[in-house]
């Protein structure tokens, strides 16, 4: 009897640790992951999901965009996710390399696969559906499917809370919001459809003031004035790069907008706003609050 129970337990245990894991990644190919002992993550939101499903201690390397949760900063960085080197990644002896489907150069993925390392590519679509797909791919790749589904359910709860909150507050008319992507006062972009932060603004019940552009385009002052934004949304690091709020308001065209006159600027943490992940619902709720319920300059930290 005892032996039977023990055998049953052993069988259950082997089931729980059933490796290799199998996952269908963003490119539609089935990847076999023989071991998750040493993971190198090439993308900020992927890293966040890995920690959220409980395999953070197996992450041995990261890219420059992975800074959340803070303890990941102690891991060595393999650099910028669009300028990767296969050997640098391999030097961390990974058993699994996981990153966005658009990592660069594309040869690196082939080179890694040629050396026998499992490479899983995560979808990047900036929608709620995309967020769920991301969570599921990452969770399945490390054999934590159930934890992944928990995260998906939590995200759905956050989204329900967001809808309820939006309905409760029922703002009179939508505010027009403009997302500015800034990397120093000389590098200014306005973003439209397809850009992740804009997807987040739409989820938060804001109207995108930049009409008719895809992705991010260089900003001209007159087009900013013509867009008549009630709110300006930026990344925290982007705002810092132009010298904070006062620097932003000094940029040509900004002061002539309704948002500029009222100083209505929302600066959000880059990963929180800029990557549809497990915290997408919370981020959208925070953005909704900052835009509709608060005055002046709001800084949103996760």
């Amino acid at each position: 009897m005892k032996r039977k129970a023990f055998g049953l337990l052993a069988a259950l245990a082997t089931l729980a640790w059933a490796q290799p894991y199998r996952v269908v990644d963003a490119t539609g190919r089935e990847v076999v992951v023989p071991s998750t002992q040493r993971i190198v993550s090439l993308d900020g939101i992927t890293t966040e999901i890995l920690f959220a499903v409980g395999v953070g201690d197996q992450v041995v390397g990261r890219d420059d965009s992975s800074y959340y949760p803070p303890e990941v900063l102690q891991r060595p960085s393999v650099g910028y996710q669009f300028r990767l080197s296969a050997e640098g990644i391999l030097s961390l002896r990974p058993t699994l390399v996981i990153g966005r489907e658009d990592v660069r150069p594309p040869q690196v993925v082939e080179q890694l696969r040629a050396t026998g390392v499992s490479v899983v590519l995560v979808p990047t679509e900036p929608t709620v559906q995309g967020a769920k797909a991301k969570i599921r791919v990452v969770a399945q790749a490390v054999g934590r499917g159930t934890r992944g589904e928990e995260l998906v359910r939590r995200l759905e709860r956050d989204l329900l809370a967001l809808e309820a909150f939006k309905a409760q507050q029922a703002p009179k008319g939508k505010l027009r919001a403009l997302f500015l992507y800034m990397r120093g006062p000389q590098t200014l972009f306005v973003c439209g459809e397809g850009a992740t932060p804009v997807g987040m603004m739409i989820l938060a019940g804001l109207e995108n003031a930049a009409k008719g552009i895809r992705e991010c385009r260089p900003m001209t002052p007159e087009s900013v004035v013509a867009a008549r934004p009630d709110v300006i949304v930026t990344f925290k690091k982007g705002l810092d790069s132009v010298g904070g709020l006062s620097g932003l308001l000094r940029l040509p065209g900004i002061a002539q907008t309704p948002a500029g006159q009222r100083g209505k600027v929302v600066a959000m943490d880059d990963l929180y706003l800029g990557s549809f992940g497990p915290r997408a619902g919370k981020a959208a709720l925070d953005l909704f609050r900052a835009a509709y319920l608060q005055e002046g300059f709001v800084e949103v930290a996760p």
Binding site: S77, S85, E87, G88, L90, S91, P105, P106, Q107, T115
Partner: protein, 343 residues
């Protein structure tokens, strides 16, 4: 010829060539032995004999094609640079002046920005587009420089400058049209680097690279004659038109292959011939092979620096070559200035 009868200055050339011929294999071995992935250099023969495992893969799939690719690219750039400096009789000529580099960049930009959705094809189609763009640009320049009295080298040089400016504007326009994702591909490509050199890309470039070597290396005598001036070279029996065509075609081929393999790796084509002249002298019979060996060595070492200095991340190799080459180029310009104004 025994060494006793060899004149003194030739001995210096031979020594330099011999030294460089030893240096290149050393640099190749060093490049193969060192990298971000820690391997004990002494264990490499064992790893290669074992023929399996991650370490074997790192050596054969990643490092070997990369090191050989760097050597090939550096050698081609330096050889093309040496030939063009001789052709234009100007020590400050860079292989980019005959439009190949900027034409290749335009070809790549057109492919990235105007033909999106290539996906996995990008790995092969992008080098091809770059290569064709480079050749096309040089072809246009060649047409411009043709006159009834033969090809005018000065016109070639001046129209090269004009074409580079125009192509720069076109690339600027494409950059403006590009989405952020396309910009990433574009900057990765223009900064240059050997991290994307795989066996497939390297082997597809080899035949053309050898064709370029075959066109350029035999030009040494004519280049020596040309140093006296076009008319003198003609009287010494150089077929000027054939010679110029071969020089420009060979340089365009060589630089085209180099740029297609590694993007815009600057300064090697300019610096390597000068280094050899400082080491030995200006005789093209020795300068052409010497510059090629030196360029190959420099490229392998620059790449080694680029991939180890910030491991596990990687510095763009164009940054390394420009950091080393920029100050050196300035020094050359200053020296040139002093010489000219002393005369």
């Amino acid at each position: 010829m025994t060494s006793a009868t060899v004149p003194h200055h030739l001995q210096r050339y031979r020594k330099a060539l011999f030294f460089l011929a030893l240096l290149l294999p050393l640099a190749l071995l060093l490049g193969l032995a060192l990298g971000a992935y820690p391997l004990p250099p002494l264990a490499i023969p064992q790893i290669l004999l074992r023929g399996e495992g991650v370490e074997y893969q790192v050596l054969t799939v990643l490092r070997l094609p990369r090191v050989l690719g760097a050597a090939l690219v550096g050698g081609l750039l330096a050889l093309a640079g040496a030939v063009l400096q001789g052709l234009f009789r100007n020590p400050l000529v860079d292989p980019g002046l005959i439009g190949v580099t900027s034409g290749a960049a335009l070809g790549a930009a057109i492919f990235i920005v105007l033909l999106p959705g290539a996906g996995p094809l990008e790995v092969y189609a992008l080098p091809l587009f770059a290569f064709l763009g480079g050749l096309l640009a040089t072809q246009v320049l060649w047409r411009i420089a043709r006159t009834p009295l033969g090809t005018q080298v000065l016109v070639l040089l001046l129209s090269g400058i004009a074409l580079n400016a125009l192509v720069g504007a076109a690339i600027g326009l494409l950059t403006f049209l590009a989405t952020e994702e396309q910009l990433r591909s574009l900057t990765f490509w223009t900064l240059g680097g050997f991290s994307a050199v795989t066996w497939a890309v390297l082997l597809s470039g080899l035949p053309l690279a050898f064709l370029a070597l075959g066109l350029l290396l035999p030009l040494a005598r004519s280049l020596n004659a040309l140093a006296l001036g076009e008319r003198e070279a003609f009287h010494l029996g150089t077929e000027l038109e054939t010679f110029k065509r071969r020089a420009v075609a060979g340089a365009a081929l060589g630089v085209g292959v180099a740029v297609a393999l590694a993007g815009g790796v600057g300064f090697i084509g300019l610096v390597a011939p000068h280094l050899f002249r400082l080491l030995a002298g200006p005789d093209h019979r020795y300068l052409l092979p010497g510059a090629a060996l030196l360029g190959a060595t420099l490229a392998v070492l620059a790449d080694l620096l680029a991939r180890t200095v910030a491991a596990p991340a990687e510095v763009p190799v164009g940054v390394v070559t420009a950091l080393l080459g920029g100050p050196f180029f300035l020094y050359l310009v200053l020296r040139y200035k002093r010489e000219v104004y002393r005369a």
